[in-house]
Structure formats: structure tokens, C-alpha cells
């Protein structure tokens, strides 16, 4: 083989014309989609995109580095509270505020990563879970953070008011475009991270930490780095989330949310960026749209309402949301352990050989 190869091909963002074409088409579709969407659906899309950012970041930690994390709602909260407080208390413009908040979140991620060096599996799960709960309670008991009453997000001014540059985003549509741009950037950063030296080191640690060490990878550094990076993503997402909701309190960032984040990554397929995007989309849709109004689903809805009325408390119907989510997760793990990404690979293979 003396064919001169262009090694850039291997690391290009878009490895082929086909991928480039579909990527452009997909992004273009996302830019024109709002023309056809109601405000409610824009809100839902905004939520989806915020979750995509969290899931893509969490995937770097859980999927690529192989460390479990059950406290990401905590980092999400740090991003949300940090961004809002930096804007309202310190008067920082939006962009520096969200980036600084994300770095604060990353710093906490780094700190949490330190004990993770000695903990594995269930022990790490418990440590991260405790962290998430601690953040929730600290926020809930601190005046500065609005205590249990919560915080209201300020006007979303993405200009710099100090310089007389005001660009206020008031509508769901405006938020949609802002979040879309953030999401595209964060996804591209994640893809690049996983394709280069640090990303390979993460995978190395997951597959064989002993081999990773003897090729010169500093386990301490890269394990904590994975925590910091994924917390940074959650921080950015949290900063955006604050404005999607407009108002939030400590309970917004509860343990269930941390679990849901993990479910998104697992359902999408561990280790795959595209899988995380798909997982976040599916789970957000299920949780916040389809199953939220489970009582309105034809036939089944009525049955569930009757069941809930008979056997559960008045708020019981909401629990079906989580039960259904659990069923989806169990189903995926039984039938497609590689998640949606695995299913996609199989479908692609199938069509390649179809109809033979």
C-alpha cells in the first residue's frame, strides 16, 4: 500500500460528503422548524436542547470514562443559580455569566472527582448522589440563593447593558435560537473532545486503567478532568435552563432529575454523542409531553385514572410517568443493551444489505 492518504480524513468533523449533507440539512431544518411550531412546542424543544447538552456532557463521564454519576442535577443547579446570580447580584452580562457559572460547576465537578479516584461502581454512585442532594439542600437553606422560595430569572439581555448594547430576548422563539446555537456549539465541542487526545484517554481509562497508566496516562488527572468537563456541560445547560423555566426552586433539581439525566445517556447508548442526543430527545418528550398528560392518552388514560383513583393517593397519577419511564429503560436494556445508538447501527446494517 503506497497510496498516499490524507490523515485529516480520519478526524474531520464530517467524514464524508453524505454526512456533511445530512448534517447541514438537519441543522437547516432546526433553524426553520419554529415557523411551524407553537409556543408550547418551542418551549418543549428548548427543554430538549438543554437536556441534550447535559446528556452529551454526562456521556463523556459515564459513557466514555466509565464512571457512574448520580448527581448531575447538582451541577445543572450550579449553572442555573450561578448564571442568574452573577447577572442579578454582580450585574454581569449574560455570556460571561453563563460561562463563569459553567466553570464554577466544572470546579465542583473536579472536587467531586477527587474521591471518585478511590471509589468505584456503587460507592461512586452513592458519593455523587449525596453531592446532588447536598447541593439541593444547601441552596434550599441559603438566603442568597432564594431559599425554598426559589429564584426568578432576570430579563434575558444578551447584549452588554453597561456599554449601552441591549439585546433583550423576550419570546420563546428568541430563546429557541439562542439555545440552538449553544447546543450546536456544545455538541461540536464534545465530538472534538472525544476524537482527540483527552477523549481517547477517557476511553482508555474505561477499558483498562492499568494499560492506560503504563502508556503514560495520569489517572488522577483524567478522571477528575472527565468530571470537570461533564460538569461544565451541565453548567452551561443549567444557565440556559434558568431562562427556559423563568422561575425555579431547589426542588427543580432533585434526585429524580439526576436519574433522568443518566437514563437519557443509557437509553441513547453509552459512549455515543448521537445516542445521547437521541436519548435526551426521547426521554424529554416522554417525560414532559406524552406522559405528563398520561390521563389524556385514549383508553389507557381512563384506565389509569380509574386505577389511580381506586388504589393511589390523589397525586398518584403522576407516578405513572415515572413507572412508564422505568419500563422504557428496562425495555431498552433488555432488548437493545447498546441503546438507541445500537439500534441505529443495526438498522443501518440491515438497509445496507436490503433486500437480500
Amino acid at each position: 500500500m503506497d497510496m498516499k492518504r490524507d490523515y485529516y480524513e480520519d478526524i474531520e468533523l464530517f467524514k464524508s460528503g453524505t454526512i456533511l449533507f445530512w448534517s447541514i440539512l438537519f441543522v437547516a431544518a432546526l433553524f426553520v422548524a419554529p415557523l411551524f411550531l407553537s409556543n408550547y412546542h418551542l418551549y418543549l424543544f428548548n427543554l430538549v436542547m438543554v437536556h441534550v447538552i447535559v446528556a452529551v456532557g454526562l456521556n463523556i463521564l459515564v459513557g466514555s470514562t466509565g464512571q457512574i454519576a448520580l448527581g448531575h442535577a447538582g451541577f445543572f443547579a450550579i449553572g442555573a443559580y450561578g448564571t442568574v446570580l452573577l447577572m442579578t447580584k454582580l450585574g454581569l452580562p449574560f455570556f460571561p455569566a453563563i460561562v463563569i457559572a459553567a466553570f464554577i460547576s466544572a470546579f465542583f465537578g473536579f472536587i467531586l472527582g477527587l474521591p471518585a479516584l478511590r471509589l468505584e461502581g456503587p460507592y461512586l454512585a452513592i458519593a455523587t448522589l449525596a453531592f446532588g442532594l447536598a447541593i439541593m439542600h444547601i441552596i434550599g437553606h441559603t438566603e442568597l440563593f432564594g431559599g425554598r422560595q426559589g429564584l426568578t430569572a432576570p430579563v434575558l439581555n444578551i447584549g452588554i447593558s453597561q456599554w449601552g448594547l441591549n439585546w433583550v430576548i423576550k419570546t420563546e422563539l428568541g430563546k429557541y435560537y439562542l439555545i440552538l446555537i449553544f447546543t450546536i456549539i456544545m455538541v461540536l465541542l464534545a465530538i472534538n473532545i472525544l476524537k482527540t487526545r483527552a477523549g481517547r484517554a477517557f476511553v482508555a481509562i474505561r477499558d483498562s486503567d492499568i494499560a492506560a497508566e503504563v502508556i503514560g496516562i495520569n489517572l488522577t488527572m483524567y478522571k477528575t478532568l472527565a468530571f470537570a468537563v461533564s460538569s461544565f456541560f451541565a453548567g452551561i445547560a443549567g444557565g440556559l435552563f434558568a431562562f427556559v423555566l423563568g422561575f425555579f426552586d431547589p426542588f427543580t433539581f432533585n434526585l429524580i432529575l439526576s436519574i433522568i439525566f443518566l437514563v437519557m445517556v443509557v437509553v441513547g447508548g453509552l459512549g455515543s454523542v448521537m445516542g445521547s442526543i437521541a436519548g435526551a430527545t426521547l426521554i424529554t418528550y416522554l417525560m414532559y409531553d406524552l406522559l405528563k398528560n398520561v390521563d389524556e392518552v385514549p383508553i389507557v388514560g381512563n384506565l389509569l385514572v380509574a386505577f389511580s383513583g381506586k388504589f393511589l393517593t390523589t397525586t398518584g397519577i403522576d407516578n405513572f410517568n415515572l413507572v412508564a419511564l422505568g419500563l422504557v429503560m428496562i425495555g431498552i436494556i433488555i432488548f437493545e443493551p447498546l441503546g438507541m445508538f445500537g439500534a441505529w447501527i443495526r438498522i443501518k446494517k440491515y438497509w445496507k444489505t436490503w433486500p437480500f
Partner: protein, 259 residues
């Protein structure tokens, strides 16, 4: 003084003296083999050298510096690469990525540089391309082209052993520790490997420490052989000499008598 040496190295596990006062010196560019029956402490010596175990006593000296107490990643950075008897590859990464990981210490791109790899001229992309070229040379050298983009977990045993050698080579080490590289290979693969190990010494200027059970291979490529049993040295010298040594014969026959 020798280029690389271990001096009075000892470690016990519980009451078992797995490595008991072992010393030897290796010259630059030598192929130095360690032989001994199963459980005699060969792999443990490698684990001590590469920092996976910390010796109870003794020193590991490269270029006049003692490596004992350094973590495995620091030892890798001083120029010691190794393979494992039971293969420790990154199973869910491709052959290419495994070898690129071997170049980790020769690269600089950090998390930010990597994240912002936009365009062919970005520093990260330029470094990436440069090192991919280097890895491609190793892929050509070890004839791994056909499996270049396959996941390592799906490869045949012999191929995986080879990828591990390639990964060690990718570090551009001064010293390479090969732990039974030919185990599980067929005769043809063994012959190729023998030639490649010689080439690694000649062309890449690497000093090689080799643990092997295959006597043909040992006789064919070693400059010197170190024989041990039950954690202790039996003898050290030219391959033929060691092979004829009565204690060595006894150690091996003893083993065969048991088997």
C-alpha cells in the same frame, strides 16, 4: 555501569517471596530474555519495573536514575513501555485509536485544544495528523493494515498480541518489556514476530527485555538470557550456556515431571 539495571529487587506476597533479591544489568540495544518455569516471578519483575508493584527492597535504574516509587505513568514517560501477558488493550477502541493512545505521552493537545479542533490548520488537527502518520508507519511495519479500523475486541488473539506490541512501540520507548508476546501465536506468526522484534531493536533502537516460554525464539534472538526459579536467579549468560545449565534443566524437568 549498565544502561538499565535492577538491583537486589525483592517483593513478597503474604509469605511468598515472588521476587527474591534479583539483580541484572542490561546494555543499550540488547535483547535480554528472562526465562523460568510458571510462577517463578518473571511477570512480577516487569510489574516492579513498570511501577505497578512497589518493591519491598531494591532499585530499578535507568540512565543512572532510580525509578522506584514513581507511578506507572511517570515511568512510561521516562521511556519504558510494556506489553502484558494477558493482553491489556482498549477493547472498545479501534486498532488505530489503541496505537494513537500509545502516542499519548508524545502529544500535547489538551482538553481545550482538542475541543476547538476546527479546521485542518488548528493546532490540534496538525498534531493529530502528524501522529497519525507516525502510527501509520507502525501499522505498515507490523502489517496491521487490514485491521486498522477494526475494534480490538473483535480481533484474533495473535493479532491482539501484535497490536499491543505496536502500542508499546508507539511510545517511542528506550526500553520495551515484552511479556510472552508469542503466546497463542501459530508458527508463522511467531516467525514474523521474531523478525519484528529484531527490527524493533535495529531500526527503532529499542532495548528489549523479553519474557518467553518458546525456547526456539529465546535461542534465536537473545543476546543474553537470565534464568530464574521460585523468585531467585539460577544463572545468566549466553543463550546456549544457559540452556545447558544443569539447574535450568532441572527446573524445567521438574516442572514437566509435575505436569
Amino acid at each position: 555501569m549498565a544502561y538499565f539495571s535492577v538491583e537486589n529487587l525483592s517483593i513478597s506476597f503474604g509469605g511468598l517471596k515472588a521476587v527474591n533479591d534479583i539483580s541484572f544489568g542490561v546494555e543499550q540495544n540488547e535483547i535480554f530474555s528472562i526465562i523460568g518455569p510458571n510462577g517463578s516471578g518473571k511477570t512480577t519483575i516487569f510489574n516492579l519495573i513498570s511501577g505497578i508493584y512497589r518493591p519491598d527492597a531494591g532499585a530499578v535504574i535507568l540512565d543512572g536514575k532510580n525509578l522506584v516509587g514513581k507511578t506507572p505513568d511517570r515511568i512510561a514517560k521516562t521511556g519504558i513501555a510494556r506489553t502484558f501477558q494477558n493482553i491489556e488493550l482498549f477493547a472498545n477502541a479501534t486498532v488505530m485509536d489503541n496505537l494513537m493512545l500509545g502516542r499519548h505521552i508524545n502529544m500535547k493537545t489538551g482538553i481545550f485544544g482538542g475541543a476547538f479542533m476546527f479546521g485542518k490548520r488548528s493546532p490540534a488537527a496538525r498534531e493529530e495528523i502528524h501522529h497519525r502518520e507516525k502510527v501509520e508507519q507502525i501499522i505498515d511495519f507490523l502489517e496491521l493494515q487490514s485491521v486498522r479500523d477494526q475494534f480490538v475486541g473483535s480481533l484474533a488473539y495473535g493479532k491482539r498480541k501484535l497490536v499491543e506490541v505496536g502500542r508499546a512501540l508507539a511510545l517511542e520507548p528506550k526500553i520495551m518489556l515484552l511479556d510472552e508476546p508469542s503466546a497463542g501465536m501459530n508458527t508463522e506468526e511467531k516467525d514474523d514476530l521474531t523478525i519484528w522484534i529484531k527490527d524493533i531493536r535495529e531500526d527503532y533502537k529499542v532495548t528489549i527485555l523479553l519474557i518467553e516460554h518458546d525456547m526456539n525464539m529465546i535461542m534465536g534472538i537473545s543476546d543474553r538470557v537470565f534464568a530464574m526459579n521460585q523468585g531467585q536467579k539460577i544463572t545468566m549468560g549466553a543463550p546456549q550456556e544457559v540452556q545447558r545449565h544443569p539447574e535450568v534443566i532441572k527446573a524445567y524437568l521438574g516442572e514437566e515431571a509435575i505436569n
